[in-house]
Symmetry: C2
Subunit: 114 residues, 2 copies
Amino acid sequence: MPKYNIPVEAALEVIGGKWKVVILCHLIENKRRTSELKRLMPGITQKMLTQQLRELESDGVIKRIVYNQVPPKVEYELTEYGWTLKGALDMLCAWGEQHIEKTYPNKEEVLLDS
Amino acid sequence: MPKYNIPVEAALEVIGGKWKVVILCHLIENKRRTSELKRLMPGITQKMLTQQLRELESDGVIKRIVYNQVPPKVEYELTEYGWTLKGALDMLCAWGEQHIEKTYPNKEEVLLDS
DNA sequence: TGCTATAGGCACCTGGAAGTAACAATTGTA
DNA sequence: TACAATTGTTACTTCCAGGTGCCTATAGCA
C-alpha cells in the first residue's frame, strides 16, 4: 500500500520516469506497433520499451493487442482509462512546444524529427 | 544545445524528476518558505530541496525572494512564466486524486496528510 | 543454409540521481 | 556560554533506473 503526501504523487507513480509520458503522447496520436514506437523514440532500448509498456499496461492506461502471425505483430493503444490522461498530456505537450519556442527561437536546431 | 525527438521532452526537462512537480504544486497553492516546503514534503532532504529549487529558478519558473533578517527568511513563488504551467499541473493533480479514488476506494489509507 | 523481420526474455553492469552527515553564518535568548 | 532557529554548502556514499549484450521463436526467401 503506497503512501502519498499529496495526490499528484499518485499520478507521478503512473506516468513518472524518463519514457512513459513520451510513450503516452505517441499513443494519443495513434495506436502503435512496438517497432513504430522504437522508431519514434530512437533513444529507447528494447528492454526499456518493453518494461515501460508492461508497467503502463498493469496500471491500466494502455492495452496490448497481439496478432497471431509470424513475424509477430503487437499493437499498443490507450485504454478508456488511459484517455483520461489526455488533458494533462496535451497541456504538457503544448507547454513543451512553446517552451522550446521561447528558449530556442529557431527551434529547428533542437527538434530532431519534425 | 539539447535535442528533442518530441516537444514534450522539453517539458520533462523542466519538471521531470522525483520532486519538481510536487514543489510546483505546493507553490501553485501559495508562496512558501523553505521550511514550509520541507514540512510539506517530509521525504525530501535539505540538499535535494535546495537543488531542485535552484534548477527551477534557473529555468525561470520560480523566483527566490530573500528577506534580509536573522535568522534568514527565504520565500519561493511561481514566476509569471511558471504560472503557464498551472494548467498542466492542475490536470495532473486532479488525475492523481481521481486515480487514488479509483484505485483505493477508501483513500484515507493512502493519503498521509489531508 | 543462412539471412531477414518481429517481439521479447534474461543476466549483468554502470552512471548519475538521490541520500547522509557534517559544517557555516548570524542573532537572540535562556 | 551554550543553544535555537533558518537556509544553505560540501564531501562522501548508496542505490536503482536505465543500458548492454546475448539469447529465443517462427516463417519466408534468396
